[in-house]
Amino acid sequence: MATNPMKIRATNKDGVTEVKVLVSHEMETGQRKDASGATVPAWFITELTAKHNDRLVLASELGTAVSKNPYLAFRFKGGAKGDKITVSWKDNKGESRTDEAAIA
């Protein structure tokens, strides 16, 4: 199934890069029931990693309690304008997606 691209914004200020990521994902908890009373199976992102060029800057593990269309913000030292930020995620159905953006 097709997945929608992530929105990634990275800005560098005084040697610190702030990265904001907005992922498009349902993040279904597996606790909700649909109209017929059947449980909606869990479907959520389990892992999300961010890299600055090829260096890992964040590795996260998410649970079902993270909101639909997850938002993440973090900061790391270093990074320069034009450097590449790569974010990838993987969900519990084995789907994955990788997007990249340049530091502004």
Binding site: T46, L56, S60, G63, A65, K68, F76
Partner: protein, 155 residues
């Protein structure tokens, strides 16, 4: 042939291999990034979650901050942030005491990444939100109560 027996043997040898590797220091615990910590995310209570994360009984610390609203109108989207001024923070986790599974998210921070992470979580009801921080191999914690007027699970 007894299929179940086969499976049990298979699972056991897999687990044994993992622990052997860990013991030999080939895979340092916590560094096996590709492995989603199922035990921690499946744990229901705070105590079980902490145990699954290997945190034991973390000490309360003033150097750890949980940021978030005092009252969240919509439990489906509650902005929560964790920050810490402790040195050498390698892990940050967000736990919500009264959710069906306490652990919401955990972040591994390589060197150079600041202990300052924001995200949005779902909350079923008013609850204490805990920030768990691992710094210099020790665990620290901070709490904030967030009141929810409309639960994130249709409540």
């Amino acid at each position: 042939m007894n299929k179940q027996r086969r499976n049990v043997l298979k699972t056991c040898s897999g687990a044994a291999l993992m622990s052997l590797l860990a013991a030999a220091g080939i895979i340092a615990p916590g560094m096996a990034l590709a492995e989603w910590n199922k035990a921690a995310f499946d744990a229901k209570s705070m105590a079980d979650t902490l145990k699954a994360l290997g945190a034991g009984a973390p000490a309360d610390s003033k150097d750890v901050q949980v940021t978030g609203p005092d009252i969240a109108e919509n439990g489906a989207v509650v902005p929560v942030g964790v920050s810490s001024t402790l040195p050498n923070v390698t892990m940050v986790a967000i736990l919500i005491e009264k959710n069906p599974n306490a652990l919401a998210a955990s972040f591994t921070l390589p060197e150079g990444t600041e202990a300052n992470v924001q995200t949005r979580v779902k909350m079923g009801q008013t609850s204490n939100v805990y920030a768990l921080v691992k710094a210099d191999g020790k665990f620290f914690m901070a709490t904030k109560e967030i009141k929810v007027t409309l639960g994130g699970c249709g409540g």
